[in-house]
Point group: C2
Chain length 253, copies 2
């Protein structure tokens, strides 16, 4: 059994609590949360603490708080030389206070409250200062995921940037599609099979081979007709830039 | 039984041939294709014609060719007053020669050669000049899909623009994610669960509620750190524009 304490109560913390509670190999000793009620639907009240001095001994401490709070939280921990990891995609391992042994446990996924997720398929990106500690967090990661990766801080930053493109920006394009539907008395439902298939295609094909549409064909007639159709200046600017990027990329091939 | 002839041999034509051959309610009489070998793996050679005068009588003729060829193909058909539909998202119904009864049969999906697709879930957007003809193409559409929609030419254009955002542009963002991985010795495989989950989220949540990431949080520190990390000027420009769009949208709420 690996004993752990989770510090935090947001999206990532909540999904980790749920995942670790389902694992036979992990003992979730405590959750640290300023507002006890934010995690009391997941774990019994006697295991929730909001005072640093109440935190018990554990093999691994997981800090799952917002990026700008990680450093402060790690320095407030009232112990030394224990294994402490953060869960952030964009923060280096050094953000953690050096009084403890440091590591990173970054699950690469988009977490939303009230939407269950299958952790088995989520890549967990690991990093540690000491080789022994890597084995500890690897065991922890493998208890909930089948995709455990060794990723350096620099690579993790690259992954986080890539994730912004393929997740956050992609979702914003869904939002624009939704807005165009609403403006034209169409249900966004009609676009959903296309959205899912576009993502599914990537499992079998490279994004390069999966590319379709007027920009890929350099079909200027359709592109201009679309630009005439779009009245929103922001949408028009995004349409132009992404079309140009697809066309320029085609020229490089 | 509804008898049909399919004119064309590209992606859409091939997927339609495959779908209609599986339906008991449809008799696929002929496929018109300039190069017989491009569809000979799907249908027997005696049913493939490449001369307009060989085209037999059928209840519905489906023109599935590239947008700029629809008008010419429809005017070359050596008969009048029959029901002829095109399958384009961006062309109005009037692009078809008026010597025949006109309609539109637009399957809203991204079709790739050698990737099978389940037609049952694909929305098929229908339009016709005559009410009687609408019933005919509706029966045709329902024989292969559970999602049949009545959509005007103007609405179809809006849908096509929206589809460019949620499919073609989204795929290009996958391409950028792929490029960032390759540059940093990372496998694109690591991003795939995130890509699929980002699409799946939309089934349950509105794109507005599904939005996450540094732009949504207006986290300027992470945004600037990402912009410093990105060396490619084109990627940087896309990152800036989409980040600004997400932030501006948040201000309007």
């Amino acid at each position: 059994m690996v004993s752990i304490v989770i510090i935090g109560s947001g999206n990532v913390a909540q999904h980790l609590i749920t995942a670790f509670l389902q694992s036979d190999e992990i003992e979730l000793i405590q959750v640290f949360s300023r507002q006890k009620e934010s995690v009391s639907h997941l774990i019994s009240l006697d295991k929730i603490v909001s005072d640093y001095d109440e935190i018990k001994e554990a093999a691994i401490y997981i800090i799952a708080v917002s990026d700008n709070a990680i450093g402060e939280v790690s320095s407030k921990l009232p112990f030394e030389n224990r294994l402490v990891v953060h869960t952030s995609g964009s923060m280096p391992i050094e953000i953690l206070d050096s009084k403890n042994r440091r590591g990173v446990f970054y699950p690469l996924q988009t977490f939303t409250k009230n939407k269950a997720i299958n952790f088995k398929e989520i890549p967990i990106c690991l990093e540690s200062e000491l080789a022994d500690d890597f084995m500890r967090i690897e065991k922890l990661a493998k208890s909930i995921s089948n995709s455990v990766q060794s990723i350096s801080s620099e690579q993790r930053k690259a992954l986080h940037v890539a994730a912004v493109f393929v997740c956050n920006f992609v979702n914003h394009l869904y939002k624009i599609g939704n807005d165009i539907c609403v403006e034209n008395q169409l249900s966004f439902e009609i676009l959903k099979p296309l959205i899912v298939e576009t993502a599914q295609k990537i499992i079998q094909l490279s994004p390069e081979n999966a590319q379709t549409g007027p920009a890929k064909r350099n079909d200027t007639e359709t592109i201009n007709s679309h630009l005439n159709f779009i009245s929103d200046e922001n949408q028009k600017e995004i349409y132009k830039l992404l079309t140009k990027s697809i066309i320029d990329h085609g020229k490089k091939l």
